[in-house]
Symmetry: C2
Subunit: 296 residues, 2 copies
């Protein structure tokens, strides 16, 4: 096993880890140097500045996942089409320095609807394979909550398809820029009861476009406090995701990958609908890149 | 019949009309003096400045609908709870000058869901009664598209219940502030084919939170032009409204009230789903206030 530098280069942040021969993290670094902060043509220089000491051993392998492989990144690593597993990911690696530094491609899939709408991910694919390794499973439903939440179906180690939901971005837009922001107090702590009321309400007949307006009227009529309303709004939006996805989860626990604050909400919501889950954090990324290195 | 001044005092604009004894518009005025532009305590002064000449006849009656009757307006005219018809609206008029100037109350209703979520309208109620008068109907489904679209059920001249959808506001937020804005070109003309593709897609299984993301990926994969994407997004959102409301419309034409640009889109969308409709514009407001004056 060659020495491995694993890097997750996202839109707003850059994290790196030096991994040992069993995949253990020997050292890690994090910088506010996401791709949005890097001028075109400067990726190699930034990489050298931040990681040259780790790259001194000529035998070192470096794998980079995330938005660094996008059109706005270091170089574009074209999407690997689903269904796909590790084998395809290895084949689609984009080598920046032959056999030394590679960008992990994102993945794409196509819906079965009449328009055959495409979907994409970049960075999540490696977290998915890492989490499966850690859970010692090759078949699962995985959920990666966030700005653009992903629901992913994996069977026999291959990502069959996935769907993106604009849940996190809508929460931010609605609470910061919409009329709902006028009744919300975002400084309040997470309110579990209000959150679960939102989950329940989202399972009622009717559209989320209507349910959302109640965030205003419940405030106007003083039926819910301004500090509880953000949790209610969060419940409405996460519940809308679950309304259409929960029946696809099967009997095994759903694997949640993300920050503690977000996976806690999804754990509660899934549990409320009778679905068990297990959580993974950033360790999934390192495990995924390590597994990829073992297959290179 | 006393001389009537009908006024629609909204959030961002103020419109007034002097009506004849058959409800015909003798003169009308419009000002960018919505309630947001009026300092607290200054409503009477602004009203006097803009309409004192029309109010010189001591016999003149003035009825004011819209946000002027809200907590942030001239005075708060408390919501009239549904079901309610003209009789209740007359009873709930808030007289600012006895028998001379009155604010029309908004309406509220309560959903039948377990949370009994409230809903509210202010200004739309008078358009609804006006449009029914003009259509000579006392039972109808009415739709008032806009920032906060309303779907309204009227039976035997009484508003039974209504639902608000944040459709227009979400369109604005998503096209101006979200990641979707990066692939949209808002300067394009309305694209009917893309709009109807959006309507079709919104009727597919799955959540609008997922369908929305295709606005990005259809752009990324160059499957739809940046000028067509705003129409597709509009179709997705209006279609989501129709997905849950279309089955409530019955066999008679739906009455649409609003600007020409918006009612055109709803006419197309309803027609696409096999539902007929007829449109009304600002004349509905004057007809409603005139009918109210006849019942004062």
């Amino acid at each position: 096993m060659r020495p491995l530098i694993a890097i997750d280069w996202g839109t707003t942040s850059l994290r790196g880890a030096r991994l040992g021969s069993n995949g253990e993290v020997l050292a890690s670094r994090e910088f506010a140097r996401g791709i949005l902060s890097v001028a075109p043509g400067q990726f190699e220089a930034v990489f050298h500045e931040l990681f040259h000491d780790w790259m001194q051993n000529p035998d070192t392998l470096c794998l980079i996942s995330g938005m660094a492989g996008s059109r706005q990144g270091w170089q574009e690593a074209p999407y690997c089409p689903c269904p796909a597993g590790f084998t395809e990911l290895v084949k689609h690696l984009l080598w920046i320095q032959p056999a030394r530094i590679a960008l992990v491609p994102g993945m794409s899939c196509m819906a079965t609807d009449p328009l055959k709408t495409p979907d994409v991910m970049r960075g999540e694919e490696i977290q998915i394979f890492g989490a499966l390794q850690l859970a010692q499973r090759d078949t699962a439903t995985l959920v990666l909550p966030g700005t653009h939440s992903k629901w992913v179906q994996v069977q026999a180690g291959r990502i069959l398809n996935f769907k993106t939901f604009m849940t996190g971005e809508l929460f931010a837009l609605l609470s910061q820029h919409s009329i709902l922001g006028k009744t919300l107090d975002l400084k309040g702590a997470f309110d579990e009861a209000a959150f679960l009321q939102g989950i329940d309400q989202s399972q009622q007949p009717g559209s989320v476009l209507h349910h959302l307006f109640a965030v205003r009227t419940l405030g106007l009529f003083e039926r819910m406090s301004s500090t509880a309303l953000p949790s209610y709004l969060s419940g409405l939006l996460i519940g809308e995701e679950l309304r259409t996805q929960a029946q696809l989860t099967g009997s095994n626990p759903v694997i949640l990958i993300g920050s503690e604050a977000l996976t806690l909400r999804y754990t509660l919501a899934l549990q409320h609908l009778g679905i068990s889950s297990q959580c993974r954090g950033s360790e999934a990324t390192w495990a995924g890149l390590f597994a990829l290195a073992c297959n290179c």
